[in-house]
């Protein structure tokens, strides 16, 4: 009779829980075989069958049931075993980072031609500006790496690893404001309610580490808090709650409620939990409910998290060389640089999906000063993470992703002066990069026009990016579905295609 993923079903890959899983599988097996073979023999199946039909889940059981969907993974040979996604929240400008536009130097201060804008909508912040004066990057670009890739002077460290990067300059989105855009990137839908990428990955692939959550989120403490973040960006939507991202925080309580009451140490807790286990087993003797076994397993897992997490987040055993590599700030827990080291440690522990958020890229005004600071706070550690993963042999099967929710406009929002300007949100083209498992290293993909306003070659939609990400993990984005409210949902909705040109 299977079990619904929406409800009480949970399938922990812990030794404690595995016997339950086996039990469930066996139950399915028995049911299927009895239907197959028992029919003629007993003739008593009518009752059973009616029962089965009337108590089945929201759809008939078959090969496309949730169990079968999960059992079919991997759909393709996975290239990546884990992902680290460096989310630059706010929308970093492509003009000052990767999308070099020398033609703009001659056009500075001129109005954006209608032939370029083509009536496309702008945000409410600049749609009504009488003038849309174009502005080139105030920062210089230089060529780096084997392919002489143009990279801004603001990213000297990233420039050094450019041969490892697969830069995509032709990302585009449909949303024009932060909330819908970031929600779209993380969940495939502009409105709240769908599972985030990490949750889909956790749901599809489970966990390779019994002591840590499979989806962990880190938020930089040293970023400007201009655009707020929200827990639903790593939420599980309609997937079971255990697939939600767990935020690891710097400070004394890295996972909510991980710490025992002051003074009560791990062995004390262990002792208490042993008694709790006995108490629950007594209860089980009286009630005989598999849920009780399951509850016991949850407490044991909780305890293992309590013992393993503090060790993972403690960076004190890292060498001086590592701190120097990740740069200033890396010794200060909770900064972007320290989070990059922590991310590497979590990846080493086989956490499936680690997502870092760094806010502060929303530069409507004062862009030159602010983007320089943002780059300074992130560039060295970002590059260090790539270097560090590579030298540890992890880059082969770890996918690194860097990017925000949209790009910025070629025209200045607000006043344009010789040294200052702002840029509004621009969803029609922007740059992201990936590195590592399964992606081509040292390439740039996609092209934009002279104004980085429209894509001229190889557009990559957000859903395409998501499809490609899933593909690298061995998942066909069209086949990892979850049935909710009568409909099969997937990360990419009804869109998305794998960008094969990015795959190595």
């Amino acid at each position: 009779m299977g079990h619904s993923h929406h409800d009480e079903e949970f399938r922990l890959n812990t030794p404690e829980a595995s016997f339950l899983n086996r039990k469930l599988d066996r139950r399915n097996f028995l049911m299927k075989t009895s239907l197959g073979l028992g029919a003629l023999a007993t003739g008593s199946l009518l009752g059973m069958d009616a029962l089965r039909a009337s108590t089945s889940k929201s759809g008939p059981e078959d090969a496309s049931s949730q169990e079968a969907i999960l059992a079919a993974i991997p759909h393709i040979a996975p290239r990546a075993k884990r992902v680290v996604y460096l989310f630059m929240a706010g929308g970093p400008s492509q003009f000052e980072t990767f999308d070099y536009k020398p033609a703009l130097f001659n056009l500075a201060g001129q109005n954006l031609p209608e032939s370029v804008r083509k009536g496309q909508r702008l945000t409410g912040m600049s749609a009504s500006q009488a003038a849309l004066p174009m502005v080139p990057s105030i920062y210089k670009f230089n060529q780096h790496g084997k392919n002489q890739t143009w990279v801004s002077e603001l990213l000297p460290h990233t420039a050094k690893v450019v041969d490892d990067l697969c830069i995509v300059k032709s990302l585009y989105s449909e949303a024009i404001n932060h909330d819908p855009a970031i929600t779209f990137f993380q969940t495939g839908n502009q409105l709240a309610g769908r599972p985030s990428i990490g949750s889909w990955v956790s749901y599809g692939l489970g966990s390779d580490n019994l002591n840590l959550p499979s989806f962990i989120v880190l938020v930089s403490k040293n970023a400007p808090q201009d655009q707020p973040l929200y827990a639903r960006l790593w939420g599980n939507g309609f997937l079971p709650t255990r697939h939600q991202g767990v935020q690891f925080r710097s400070g004394k309580d890295p996972v909510l409620f991980l710490n025992n009451p002051d003074g009560y140490d791990g062995s004390d807790r262990k002792e208490m939990l042993d008694y709790l286990g006995k108490l629950n087993r007594l209860q089980n003797e009286a009630f005989g409910d598999p849920e009780i076994d399951n509850r016991i397993a949850q407490y044991e897992m909780a305890f293992r998290m309590q013992t393993s997490v503090p060790g993972v987040i403690d960076l004190s055993n890292e060498s001086e060389e590592v701190f120097d590599l990740y740069g200033p700030g890396s010794r200060d827990a909770g900064t972007y640089a320290a989070n990059c080291i922590l991310a590497r440690k979590l990846l080493e522990k086989d956490v499936k999906f680690v997502q870092l958020y760094h806010q502060g890229w929303d530069q409507h005004g004062g862009l030159p000063k602010n983007i320089a600071r943002q780059c300074k706070d992130t560039d060295q550690a970002t590059a260090a993470l790539v270097v560090d993963l590579k030298r540890r042999g992890l880059l082969e099967d770890t996918l690194v992703i860097w990017g925000g929710e949209f790009g910025r406009t070629v025209y200045s929002q607000g006043k344009l002066t010789a040294t200052d300007y702002g840029r509004d949100h621009h969803p029609r083209c922007f740059t992201m990069w990936m590195a590592g498992a399964g992606v081509k290293a040292g390439i740039s993909y996609g092209e934009t026009d002279d104004f980085s306003y429209n894509i001229t070659k190889d557009p990559v939609h957000v859903h395409d990016f998501q499809a490609t990400l899933m593909h690298l993990l061995g998942i066909d984005h069209e086949r990892l579905t979850y049935k909710f409210q009568g409909r099969r949902f997937r990360l990419t909705d009804v869109h998305g295609k794998v960008v094969n040109a990015l795959l190595s």
């Binding site: 078959d62 496309s64 409410g124 404001n177 970031i182 003074g263 006043k415």
Partner: protein, 1082 residues
């Protein structure tokens, strides 16, 4: 190997066929038979004799076929629909002579060949769909066609009829009709109902289910000692009549109504909608009939003579998330709000995912995209903004909820205003006598032509010497701004002087001139030259960043040749708005003057064009709160807003600002359309109209008594405005005077208009009756009509879920084709009709359910039941479910006695780890004192950062309608009940009580009973006593280990006690709190 097969006969031979089939299943061959693969043949044999379309066939068709061959017209492949029989058995459009389904003839049915095919190009469902049919599903379709491919209407769309109550062999166990339905079914399935639960567990179950709180030791004792036959019923009545009943029932409704304390979306500021929450609690406690309960929420504002309470109920439709992010497109989010209301309407009241039809026809249910937007149009007439105000003003429309004291003050001040208005009229009458004397003194000859009326003139800007100075006060100078910094003004010559040129982005800031309140009379005039090309832009305003603050202030705005004059608190709901009817001239200088009398009424706000009052249409006349910003008060701004919307290449000149309402004669003079000398000579020539105007001028501008009366009136008007400002507001529904037009939105996009639609309901559910108005009120009537197939069923199903953990239809949110079939269809209908016929009596229905023998069963499952019915859908035994998030916390607080029972009020902030709200740029400051111990339904809901204790136990974020919570079991939950300060503190209070109990054993037993409602057996007590000893020794030897147990939370332990023992007992209490006996309701 494909084996034999079966006889395939026409439907009319069905009966014969059945006998035949049963006897000679493997031996019969027929010309029109199709050969089945092994597995399908095997499955075929295992199928029940009679297939039922709704039970067996449609779930397969819907789930596997309707995506391409269902109700979505745009996606129908090959013109084939399988949801309608006539279409399914008709000749195929693309294959003449072929039929998808030929009833009784599988050989002639293309569908059968397709589903059995091995050829990927021919196979259905197609491989790209990633849908596959199991052998059993194939067999079902084949056999169904065999048997004549009979269709039936979808059960949930057919109005329920009262079924006959079945008989049962377990009559002696029956308490009410529910049991007959349940037991009868158990009999047919060969299952036996379990015995009644023991009294302790039963009391805990029913107490938690009806009030969300566990029974106290005293309540348990009373029940155990009550030997009367109706002992249980007495408990049920007590619980149903307690105030906590409404609180418990409200929790589910608040999930459904997506009630929250913050706006949601990215800038997730707090808002206080607690009056709605408290109304829901009271509605349950007062046992409002369900039909009235939902009708008020949908259309209370449209009921005849609506009361405040009816209006408050409509907050239901405003609880959705609202967006404050700067730069969003207003229409986009205004549309989202209507979409949310429409989807919530479908899901909450009808159990239908109508939202699926937003972008295209529904794929599974007969709801077209047009049907969707017809429903949408009912909710699209609210005078609301898509971007809500940045200054935390409650988004309009709202209801003011004054306290009694505030109400008295407002009544007093309103009386004062009336009196001062009468006094003003009296002064004006008396002024007419003085006018004669004044007129005789030949006053007009003292006025030189070209001189402006100077009474109340506080601002005058001519730009003539290339300066932005105010001629009335040269210390004041305007500044041209773009962003923060001053810009160089651009002048151009006009006549002998200069005018100011505007570039559409920069604006002339005349602060502090022009800073007025809604109780002040004032006037603003200027000459403006508007170029032909300009479509839209602001001419002048006193506000900042327009929609960002919902136009707080006043403004004159050009849009498509018309002018809009507004005065706003929160536009468009709390505002005055008027539009000119005639076009404004272009490429020429025009004089515009706004005058305002301080009355806060549309008729007191006027616009003159070239000295003549412009006819205007009023679209909003509801300014109840003031027009000042909460901080950063700008004055008059000319030519653009910060962020544009300016009048590019327009020019302005001769700006005048008066702190009084100037009269028509003055406007003409200011506009240069009349001079003082002309006026004098016309009056000399007996122009009586002008003479009257002069009289008006005298009263307003010259007479001192009138001026004094006006000042008094202004003072009380502003005093009243000050008092209204602090009155609490809640969002409610309101209809716009001129309904907004609704269209089908192509692909669901806010700006892609399709066909225009008007309010209507899907005929597949229930056609909209002709006798009802096509508005929200009519819609609410439609919903509660006796012949509505869904409303009562959906309601009883939701209530049922509360008690049994799952609904009779488990897919609470989907009664459509993809939804699960009811486990007890007849019981569902019986309950629905009984509920409706009781006058939708909610308490009566709850009582019926909890009184039933079915509800009272022991929750332990027999081995047989566990094998045959692992989910206990047939209810052979009682329900066992994990406590909900709210129950989990409330149980701990109630057990230790900290719980503060107080109904309603603002939401509270209990303990929460530090820093959580920082990702959303805010700080969480926990409450102190009793607020920490309020019930969990009052815990603040900030949508973007949920309270971790609640969220970890599956409380939804309340961002959208939820009718069925997840029920998960995770390690993070264990960490909450082990370490969350709320639970540690509650354990300590219990630990202290245990320490003061007369002996250790009694202490353990009492704590156990308080937390779990049951008396522990001796093995459990012994184990806990052992734990106590182990911990006691530990804390005595290492007192530092007890620190956290003794100090977490605000409750302090009596230091006279042996603190090591208190700590040891605290650990024991915590162990009980974390045990299944506490966590699970059995």
């Amino acid at each position: 190997m494909a084996v034999h097969t079966r006889s395939l006969k026409r439907a009319k031979y069905l009966n014969m066929h059945r006998i035949f089939f049963a006897m000679f299943i493997f031996t019969v061959l027929s010309a029109c038979s199709v050969s089945l693969p092994d597995d399908v043949a095997e499955a075929y044999q295992a199928l029940p004799e009679d297939l039922d379309y709704n039970l067996h066939v449609k779930p397969v068709l819907s789930d596997k076929c309707f995506v391409c061959h269902g109700p979505d017209k745009a996606k129908q492949k090959a013109g084939l629909r399988l949801d309608i029989r006539d279409n399914a058995i008709g000749e195929l459009d693309e294959s003449p002579g072929k039929f998808a389904i030929d009833p009784g003839n599988t050989q002639g049915s293309e569908l059968v060949h397709r589903i059995l095919s091995d050829d990927p190009d021919y196979l259905m469902p197609s491989p790209e769909s990633h849908l596959t049919l199991s052998a059993r599903e194939k067999a079902i379709l084949v056999k169904w066609i065999d048997q004549g491919a009979e269709y039936k209407p979808h059960w949930a769309f057919v109005k329920p009829t009262l079924p006959k109550v079945p008989k049962t062999q377990y009559e002696s166990k029956v308490i009410n009709e529910i049991d007959r339905f349940i037991f009868h079914r158990l009999e047919t399935e060969g299952l036996t109902p379990s015995n009644e639960a023991n009294r302790e567990l039963l009391l805990r179950r029913v107490s938690l289910d009806l009030t969300g709180l566990p029974p106290t030791l005293e309540e348990i004792g009373n029940f155990l000692n009550d030997k009367s036959a109706d002992a249980y019923e007495k408990q049920v009545d007590r619980l149903l009549n307690s105030e906590q009943f409404g609180e418990k029932m409200a929790v589910d409704w608040l999930d459904l109504a997506r009630f929250a304390d913050s706006h949601g979306y990215t800038v997730d500021r707090l808002r206080d909608m607690s009056p709605y929450r408290d109304w829901v609690i009271q509605a349950f406690n007062k046992n409002y009939p369900y039909n009235k309960f939902i009708q008020w929420q949908l259309a209370g504002d449209m009921m005849p003579n609506p009361t405040k309470e009816m209006k408050l109920a409509t907050a239901f439709n405003r609880n959705h998330a609202q967006n404050m992010e700067g730069g969003i497109i207003d229409e986009e989010f205004q549309t989202e709000y209507v979409v949310d209301r429409t989807n919530t309407f479908g899901e909450a009241f009808m159990g239908l995912s109508v939202g699926c039809a937003r972008c295209h026809d529904h794929k599974y249910d007969p709801i077209s995209q047009k049907n969707y937007y017809e429903l949408f149009s009912f909710f699209n007439n609210v005078p609301e903004a898509g971007q809500i105000s940045w200054d935390d003003a409650m988004p309009g429309p709202t209801l003011l909820l004054p306290t009694e004291r505030q109400e008295k003050i407002i009544a007093f001040l309103s009386k004062e205003v009336d009196e001062k208005e009468s006094k003003l009229h009296e002064s004006e009458r008396q002024a007419d006598a003085a006018f004669e004397t004044w007129y005789q003194s030949n006053p007009l000859h003292r006025m030189s032509d070209g001189k402006l009326p100077n009474s109340g003139l506080v601002g005058y800007y001519t730009f003539d010497n290339g300066s932005l100075r105010n001629a009335m006060d040269t210390r004041q100078s305007g500044v041209v701004r773009l962003g923060s910094g001053p810009e160089s003004p651009v002048f151009e010559s006009r006549g002998n002087g200069k005018a100011l040129h505007l570039n559409g982005d920069a604006w002339l800031d005349l602060s502090p001139v022009g800073l007025f309140r809604k109780g002040d009379a004032f006037s603003i005039g200027l000459f403006v030259y508007i170029p032909k090309e300009l479509k839209e832009g602001v001419i002048f305003h006193k506000s900042t960043m327009e929609r960002h603050f919902n136009y707080r202030g006043y403004d004159l705005y050009l849009k498509d040749n018309k002018l809009r004059l507004s005065m706003s608190h929160v536009a468009p709901a709390n505002a005055i708005r008027k539009y000119t009817i005639e076009n404004i001239p272009r490429d020429t200088w025009v004089h515009l003057m706004m005058t305002y009398d301080g009355s806060s009424r549309a008729m007191g706000l006027r616009l003159y064009q070239n000295g003549v009052e412009a006819p205007m249409e009023t679209v909003a006349d509801n300014l109840t709160k003031d027009i000042l910003l909460y901080q950063g008060q700008p004055g008059l701004q000319i030519g653009a807003w910060d962020r544009g919307w300016g009048i590019k290449d327009a020019r302005v000149d001769d700006i005048t600002v008066y702190n009084r309402e100037v009269t028509p004669l003055e406007v003409r003079i200011i506009a240069g359309k009349e001079s003082w000398s002309e006026t004098a000579s016309k009056i000399m020539r007996n122009d009586s109209k002008l003479f009257e105007e002069l009289k008006v001028y005298y009263r307003s501008a010259v007479n001192k008594e009138v001026a004094a009366s006006l000042q008094e009136l202004r003072a009380v008007r502003n005093a009243r405005a000050d008092s209204v400002e602090s009155i609490k507001e809640v969002m409610i529904m309101e209809e716009m005077a001129r309904p907004r037009k609704s269209h089908v939105l192509l692909r669901g996009n806010y700006d892609a208009f399709g066909e225009e639609v008007v309010g209507n309901t899907p005929a597949s559910i229930l056609p909209f009756p002709g006798d009802l108005p096509k508005n929200r009120l009519g819609l609410s009537e439609w919903l509660i009509r006796d012949d509505h197939p869904l409303t009562a069923r959906v309601a009883v199903n939701r209530f049922w879920q509360n008690y049994f953990g799952a609904g009779i239809v488990k897919t609470m949110e989907d009664f459509g084709n993809q939804g699960e079939l009811p486990s007890h269809a007849e019981l569902l209908d019986w309950l629905a009709i009984t509920f409706r016929d009781s006058g939708w009596d909610v308490k009566k229905l709850q009582k019926l359910i909890v009184m039933s023998a079915t509800y009272r069963r022991d929750s332990r499952a027999s081995q047989e039941s566990r094998t045959k019915d692992p989910e206990n859908r047939l209810l052979s035994h009682g329900p066992a479910n994990r406590l909900s998030a709210e129950m989990m916390r409330d149980n701990a607080l109630a057990a230790c006695g900290l719980l503060k029972k107080e109904i309603g009020g603002k939401s509270v902030k209990p303990y929460q780890p530090e820093g959580l709200w920082e990702i959303n740029n805010t700080r969480y400051v926990p409450d102190t004192g009793q607020a920490l111990y309020r019930r969990s339904l009052y815990v603040i809901v900030k949508r973007t950062v949920p309270h971790p204790t609640m969220a970890t136990f599956d409380a939804p974020s309340r961002s959208y309608c939820v009718v069925r919570r997840q029920k998960t079991n995770t390690p993070l939950q264990s960490l909450v009940t082990l370490n969350d300060p709320t639970f540690v503190e509650a354990a300590r209070v219990l630990g202290e009580q245990m320490t003061t109990d007369s002996n250790a054993r009694e202490g353990v037993v009492n704590a156990y009973r308080r937390l779990t409602g049951r008396t522990p057996d001796s093995k459990e007590v012994d184990l806990l006593l052992e734990l106590q000893q182990v911990e006691y020794k530990k804390f005595r030897d290492h007192p530092e280990k007890a620190k956290g147990w003794l100090t977490t939370g605000q409750y302090s332990v009596d230091r006279k006690l042996d603190t090591s023992l208190v700590a040891a007992n605290t650990v024991v209490a915590s162990a009980i709190m974390n045990s299944d006996a506490t966590l699970t309701k059995r």
